[in-house]
Amino acid sequence: MTEPLEPEAAVVVSGVDKVFNVGSSDEVTALSGIDLTIGAGEFVSLIGPSGCGKSTLLRLIGDLLTPSVGEVTVFGKPAHAARMDQDYGMVFQHAGLFDWRRVAANIELPLELRGWSRADRADRSAEMLELVRLPEFGGHYPRQLSGGMQQRVSIARALSFQPKLLLMDEPFGALDEMTREHMQLELLRIWRETGTTVVFVTHSISESTFLSSRVVVLSARPGRIHSVVDVDLGDRTDATREDPAFFAKATEIREALRADKDDG
């Protein structure tokens, strides 16, 4: 992880507002005045109270929503162009595997859409199943897997085509604590091995502290960036979770979140 000092920007969000239902009685300003730059290869978490616009910001970066004001640039091009170039991998809280496809076929779906040959697809899905440590499950249907296993398949699917940018919206939110901690380590290992850029939405302070190189703290109504906390804890292991430096960082993030509440 010795990135160059001035890494190429993966994501540049500049002057973005997002207003839903403009002009109607239920108009909501979800985000206001967002400026954020994410370097290539970074692992950045978005944290904040529920409804503060984390998912909205993630979707703006992924071009699933368009900003009301401002612009989003991804790898030097407009977000829309990045989506058309298939630069994104996405993982949601709900694993979102297709019931009708076997596990390997789920992982191969984005490859199929890209016109890969059957043999190449099979090779890659086998490789991905290896990566998420589910090598024997390619022939199973998703509903035969536990929630944690499904989420791992969902991550394998998002990584199968080596996306330059991985967007994750509370991907471990539905998992139990043990599985969640295990998955966090797996994700960090995969991130190190692939060198992809990750934007990770969570509402867990410890999760954001453990995973990220930077944590973006959002405040609610309207959603703004309250502060950005650098987290420099070196390579994470299970021991990191008991490290005083880890607690200090978590406390810093907690206070940023609390300060925001007191302001409001």
Binding site: R59, R83, G96, L113, S146, Q150
Partner: protein, 267 residues
């Protein structure tokens, strides 16, 4: 699995046999006149006696039901695909389809005779098509549109075309909805064919045998014809179930997880 399937057949067989026994006993014990309710054994006798005529009638009525079923299902599926592809068309057609669905279609049978001819089978088939069409259309259209938003966002994040979304997400998502509709309309097609036959068409069909036997107070023969019709209906229902199993193998596996893809599941 086979064992499970056979175990599933046991109870209905026992209940069925007991039911027929009870029916026989009640008619015999209370001295109910066969004119009002024939005993199952008499119905069986008439069935054997009139087998060539009833078999022919069952076959012909079955053909009307199946041809109408196939045409109605195809029409329903095609229109559902077209309306989901073009949203404005959907907004216009769906309320219309619901309104038409609320009209009692069998009431149209005499009118269909005028349109399609009273002696041919076309008017009877038209009644079946009209009855089958709406449940298939409405259910399939629901299955094509009620897709989890995450699944659509995922496909959009891959820059997938509308066609790819239809093929990979909407159609598989609609299969369970379609299968439910098919289970309902498969036996319904036989009912529709018989009711249509009450009003017109060739005279050697189940519907005609029921009306003419009843007119001559040969109720036991009418019951035998009804037995043939219900066998045809059951056969079509079984075919619908079989098709469902063949087309959706993922629904056969046992799973511990909650995301069973059943229509109306909370997504």
């Amino acid at each position: 699995m086979i064992r499970g399937r056979l175990a599933g057949i046991g109870p209905p067989v026992v209940v069925g046999v007991a039911g027929f026994g009870l029916w026989e006993g009640i008619v015999w014990g209370f001295g109910i006149r066969e004119f009002l309710l024939p005993r199952p054994s008499s119905i069986m006798d008439r069935l054997v006696e009139n087998w060539p005529v009833l078999r022919h009638a069952g076959w012909e009525t079955g053909r009307i039901a199946v041809s109408g079923l196939v045409a109605g299902v195809l029409a329903g599926v095609v229109l559902a695909l077209v309306t989901t592809r073009f949203r404005t068309l959907n907004e216009g057609l769906t309320p219309l389809a619901i309104a038409v669905n609320a009209t009692p279609i069998v009431a149209l049978a005499p009118i269909f005779n005028a349109w399609f001819g009273i002696t041919g089978t076309l008017s009877n088939q038209a009644v079946v098509v009209a009855i089958v069409f709406f449940p298939v259309f409405i259910n399939t259209a629901r299955g094509l549109t009620e897709v989890h938003p995450d699944e659509l966002e995922l496909m959009r994040s891959y820059a997938a075309s509308e066609w790819a979304i239809l093929r990979e997400v909407r159609i598989p998502n609609a299969l369970p909805f379609f299968a439910n509709a098919l289970r309902v309309v498969a036996p319904l097609s036989v009912i529709a064919a018989i009711v249509a036959e009450y009003f017109g068409g060739p005279q050697d069909r189940i519907g005609n045998i029921i009306t003419s036997s009843a007119a001559f107070a040969r109720y036991d023969v009418a019951w035998a014809a009804i037995a043939v019709a219900s066998a045809v209906g059951l056969g079509l229902f079984a075919a619908a179930l079989l098709l469902e199993r063949l087309v959706m193998p993922w629904r056969l596996v046992d799973g511990g997880s909650e995301n069973h893809n059943t229509p109306g599941r909370e997504k």
